[in-house]
Amino acid sequence: MDKKTVTTISYLSRLKIDSEKEQKIVKDLDNIIKFVDQLNDVDTSSIEPLTNPLEKTAKTRKDEVTAKNLKKELLEVAPSANEDYFLVPRVVE
């Protein structure tokens, strides 16, 4: 875990670390990774990963439209919107 790695994962997470805090974050993250490294000592060669503690399968929905038109409520909670769309700064492809 070094400064370059932190910069890469910060960008992936869309986070900016203030330069004053940068050194501490790198140190904290490095310590955390070292702490979790102890997992490597365990033999898990034939063990299936556990994603969710419920060993069961999902219930599904019927193919029906149950949603109501929420346009007004949804655009109202938006930080920036006009009557029709959510708005963000112009995206250049």
Binding site: L15, I47, P89
Partner: protein, 483 residues
């Protein structure tokens, strides 16, 4: 007639014997909130609606199980039309257009949601020191932490302001504050309570549960909180027993698992003493102590600190300033919108966990960290499955010690993570677990953890209630012992 420090059962009796009106109850609650504002337990109050609901009940009494009972709701649950912040700046202005299923269940049972409680930001923390809205204080001592992340809920109940509060528990966030504040709280089996409307931290670990003064009250609350919800496919479709039914069963012949591999060396002698005394109490109630082994228990903290950050790094991506929540001012382009909104909106602990999460999921590290942790997780679960073939419950201390001072865990995040040493494994395995007060050290409470088998909240509540008929630790308040 005061409602301070009263249990739900006691308040219900007061209502039915017409010793107090619903309106008087709610008015007193708001008075108590005011008097205790230094605790900073509440973020948003719901005064007008609550008083109105109480008045309506006085005019039209109801016999629903929680009719008129004031409950504080952790600010992680979406409440329709009422600000929901999750303790974060980024949701500072968020008013959800819908309510969580848990909230609806409790309100349908008649309760009055008096306000939203303060919490560690996005449920990440064990001391309620990471909230955007400031620290929560422990009623047992202003300089003390209440625990976290359900610090506000624990503090409100411990201070006697409300008889009960909702909490959530991902790595111990109900049980640990319950222990540090001297109250009772239970995290049910994963899937018992719907997660619809619960702002997600770590989807495979999060679970909502009640926090109250007694195991009996927790049983009553759990009855109402649990439901099968088709909107949440991780919600169980199993029979939900009446959790109050078996709380009085004698404990004779029941087996208590005592973990051989538990490293108690880091604990103070007082704490060990309190713990061992509780075990003896259960022996005198007729239970039998059985040594069990959970060989992978010590790996639960590192496992959790891979899995939980991984899930949260993805769950928190939706907070991007585009559709809801706070957005940074005048971003010059899209990149700036994302980076500034999130960097300004999230606190340091949240950022740390998102970064760890992104790291352990990134190409090249996934197998070594995330996949590995999920494999160890299965081992931890297997340990419990095997142990429960020999015992009915497993007991450990809930925390390493009583409440510590605000700011004392200082600069090392790992020190804070180790606070959850005893509680985390139950979340990884999806098992129910409860904390109840079992001692008092230097006028600071501490708790005992009872872990149960899959779907076996009833047995946990039975053990807890029987303990509370024989001991009076749950009657201790910061102002003295209740009579």
């Amino acid at each position: 007639m005061t409602v301070k420090y009263k249990t739900i059962k006691e308040i219900k009796q007061m209502i039915s014997q017409k010793e107090i009106s619903n309106k008087e109850i709610i008015e007193e609650v708001y008075k108590l909130i005011d008097e205790n504002s230094h605790l900073n337990a509440f973020v948003t109050l719901n005064k007008d609606r609550s008083i109105k609901k109480a008045e309506d009940l006085d005019n039209n009494p109801s016999d629903s199980s929680l009719a008129g009972i004031p409950i504080a709701q952790k600010d992680l649950f979406c409440t329709k039309g009422i600000r929901t912040t999750c303790g974060s700046k980024i949701l500072n202005n968020f008013i959800p257009p819908y309510s969580a299923t848990v909230i609806e269940n409790l309100e349908n049972a008649g309760c009055i949601s008096v306000g939203k409680t303060n919490m560690d930001e996005f449920a990440m923390g064990s001391s309620n020191e990471t909230s955007f809205f400031g620290n929560v204080h422990n009623p047992w001592g202003e300089k003390l932490v209440p625990g976290g992340s359900s610090g506000g809920s624990a503090s409100a109940v411990a201070a006697g302001i409300v008889p009960a509060a909702s909490g959530t528990d991902t790595g111990g966030s109900i049980r640990q504050p319950a222990s540090l504040c001297g109250i009772t709280g239970i995290k049910p089996t994963y899937g018992r309570v719907s997660r619809w409307g619960m702002i997600a931290f770590a989807s495979s670990l999060d679970q909502a549960g009640p926090m109250a003064r007694t195991a009996e009250d927790c049983a009553l609350l759990l009855n109402e909180m649990c439901s099968h919800d088709v909107k949440d496919t991780t919600s169980l479709d199993e029979n939900i027993p009446n959790f109050e039914d078996s709380i009085n069963e004698p404990l004779k012949g029941k087996k208590v698992g005592v973990v051989k591999d538990l490293d108690l060396s880091s604990l103070d002698n007082d704490v060990i003493g309190v713990y061992e005394n509780s075990l003896q109490e259960f022996v005198s109630l007729g239970a039998e102590l059985v040594d069990i082994s959970l060989p992978n228990l010590s790996l639960s903290v590192p496992t959790y600190y891979v899995v939980a950050p991984a899930e949260c790094s993805s769950n928190l991506s939706r907070f991007d300033g585009v559709k809801f929540g706070r957005r940074s001012e005048n971003p010059k382009d899209l990149e700036e919108l994302y980076i500034q909104t999130r960097s300004e909106g999230f606190g340091d602990e949240v950022k740390r966990r998102i970064l760890i999460g992104s790291y352990v999921l990134s190409a090249g590290y996934y197998d070594a960290y995330y996949k590995k942790a999920q494999q160890v997780r299965r081992l931890i679960k297997k340990d419990f499955d095997e142990a429960f073939s020999d015992v009915d419950v497993i007991m450990t201390p809930t925390t390493r010690g009583p409440a510590f001072e605000i700011g004392s865990k200082g600069n090392d995040p790992i020190q804070m993570y180790l606070e959850d040493l005893f509680t985390i494994s139950a979340n990884l395995a999806g098992l129910p677990a409860m904390s109840l007060p079992n001692g008092n050290i230097d006028n600071k409470p501490i708790g005992l953890q009872i872990i149960g088998n899959f779907l076996d909240e009833s047995t946990i509540l039975n053990f807890g209630h029987m303990y509370q008929t024989k001991t009076n630790w749950h009657m201790f308040t910061p102002e003295g012992v209740k009579q």
